[in-house]
Amino acid sequence: MLQRKMFYSALKGSLSILLVGTVLGGFLNQELIRASMNGELLKKIGQKQMADLKYKSDEIPFIVLKEAKKIFDERGAVFLDSRSSADYRDSHIQGARELPLVSLVQNRDLADKIIPDKTTPYIVYCSGEGCDLSVELAKELISRGYFNIKVLGEGYPGWAEARYPVEPSR
């Protein structure tokens, strides 16, 4: 009986906190909620994260999605996936080579095995604007003498959302 009373008291107490939080947060952030409902919020987040990523990148050149697709169609560059092996196995840009930053740090010879030619153009990507693995990988490769490196800021999510070729295909 006492336990049931305590349970209802905790439930009532937690619901009252939820109610206050919902009313206050909802009232004071109406613009944020409206922007998230009409899709503006995701656009704004993407723009801000891209700007932050470029700021972090120390002048490493970026490539926009459409231009990357054009180069992909012309087979003008090798795509490098800097995400984890699990993500790569799950799905990656068609033809991209797996080069996780973590593995490269652990095994310094890995780059020579996977991408022996330092003059080939490479396009590096990771999980999108909020992820800096691609920028870090690009910096690492440039420091090792690869000079034709570009970063695809939109990363795998941007590529997949645009319905460009991925493998395994979805």
Binding site: S14, S16, V20, G21, G25, N29, S36
Partner: protein, 156 residues
């Protein structure tokens, strides 16, 4: 262990969880857009849910933290903090397994990456929060203070 000692241990627990949640909530209230971006990075939630969560969750965290600190509605607040911590641990584990290299978004201004350290810290906080919910005795709460003052007045 003596009952009074236990009470003061739970008081320390209350202050720890309350302070942590109040701080985390206020940090996010001050920059809801950054918190929305942190939720977006998990790539688990649909667009509309991101804005609503970023708008409401910080206030719930801050209010639950305040209640724990003040000793008001402690069981209700501990229910909220325990469930939230359980959710956070689950989210961080999922993201770590997926190999996401992102900030967990736990505290607005403090960088804290998704990974083993964050999982362990949040698990410890979850255990502490759950212990307040299950066994916590309220000392130093408004009702106790009033009870200590009022009976003397009534005796007179």
């Amino acid at each position: 262990m003596q009952e009074s000692k236990k009470q003061y241990i739970f008081l320390a627990f209350r202050f720890l969880i309350g302070g942590t949640f109040l701080y985390a909530g206020v940090e996010k209230i001050l920059s809801p857009f950054d918190f929305a971006a942190a939720i977006y990075n998990y790539r688990l939630f649909p667009g509309p849910l991101i804005g609503i969560t970023a708008a409401i969750l910080p206030w719930v965290e801050a209010f639950a933290g305040l209640c724990l600190l003040a000793g008001f509605n402690t069981k209700g607040a501990a229910t909220i903090t325990t469930l939230l911590l359980l959710t956070f641990v689950g989210l961080i584990i999922i993201s770590a397994v997926r190999g996401l290299d992102i900030d967990c978004g736990c505290f607005g201004g403090v960088e804290r990456k998704v990974g083993l350290q964050a999982i362990l810290e949040d698990t410890v906080l979850f255990i502490i929060s759950a212990s307040i919910l299950l066994w916590g005795k309220s000392v130093l709460n408004p009702r106790n203070l009033i009870d200590k003052i009022l009976p003397r007045r009534i005796e007179k």
